[in-house]
Amino acid sequence: MIQIENVEKRYGDFTLTVSLEVKEGQITGLIGKNGAGKSTTIKAILGLIQPDAGTVTVFGKKVSELQTADREAIGVTMADSGFSNYLTVSDVIGIQKRMYASFDETFFRSFCEKNKMPLNKPLKEFSTGMKVKIKVLSAISHQAKCLILDEPTTGLDVAARNEILDMLRNYMEQDPGRCILITSHISSDLENLCDDVYMIDGKVLLHEDMDVIISQYGILKMDERQYQQLDKAYILSTEKGRYGVRCLTNQRQFYVENYPGIVIENGNIDELILSIGK
């Protein structure tokens, strides 16, 4: 559905070089530290910036060749952008109704009613959580085939985040031909949602299925002596500190079986960012 091939974008000293693919039926996560290039990647997919090299295709077409009908099949939330805060929810409904042939007004209104969202209040008077819900609701209420979501859960409490994640799961369950590309700083959101994840920092550092990260990746914690004796064949990164050595592995079971004396923790996205993203 979305394919990025060798895209390059330079901003002064920073260069982003990225290739990634979002497949039909999949939820793909894009993770990385601040300034790693996540938003730049999203903007390249949406045609908001012109890459210096490489190609971006959505639904098999170059972004510059996407027609209005193709764009109707894309739902977007941006971290720092959305409908004007001077508009009301009723205005948003009116705009979407006129822009998207498949806009589901009943679904939109019933969601607002269920969440007690005032229809005639300007968005600027909404709480952060309400605003985010409106953004995600707008993205999923016109039968888009593909969602591109930049930090949709940032700034929300756990309950609001879970509601957003549920909305996204429901969206995927309705049609197996859909896909989602999502960026987030909140690792647990991605762990519970994504099928695969790309980790970037100017370039792709890692692409792995989420199941593999959860089941095979691990953090080994040991002292210097244990580290010297360790088989480092499956060590992806090592960090030496005052209290010992931490290693990231993608073969946790190997170390569980062969090194019973060292502490081994399950892998997660936070550890990946901390270990690989250094």
């Binding site: 952008s81 805060n85 001077y86 705009i95």
Partner: protein, 216 residues
Amino acid sequence: MRGLLFKDFRLIMGRRQAFLFYIAISCILGFSMPDFLPAFLTMIAITLATSTISYDEFDNGYSFLMTLPMTRAMFAVEKYLFALICSVIGWGISLVIVMIGNVLRSLPILTVEALSAATVVLPVMLLFLLIILPVHLKFGAERSRTVLLCLYGVTVLLILFGKKLLTVLGISGEQAVSFAASIPVPAVIMGLALLFCLAAVVSVFASIRIMEKKTF
């Protein structure tokens, strides 16, 4: 396009207090300076219409807007269409206010002279719109003020230069005016209409180009 027009319409409708203020001023002008009212209200309508660009760029709004199902050319053209609709509505309201004022003062409802003067106002104001829209789209609401001031300065300099050129060529002001007056009125109207159309085409294509080149 319909969605964008609806958005801009809703954005300016949110400025109810400004509307009431302008209507109050217009009513006063309708009685005191009826000849000036069409120009005033059309200009206000154009200003309100172009202010939607500020709303669009506020809080990085452009980034999201450009992901909606439309081309950037459609976005640019919609701004012209919306401003044109607003101008015509503003101009129309001004005429209605002038006519009501005339009726209340027991004057002829609308003289041919007043209608002719008001009719001239509309294309002049639209010409102004053709200049400011690409400037607004290119430089944004803040910087465009400076750029427009510079443009006015350049225009004044060009007029002064033209005047100087006539003097150098030995053509007096009276001669120039009598030459202009000798041109048949239909030819003048045709010529101005052609120039207006040319300006419109240049302005719209410039705005489309500006939007297509923008990155967000």
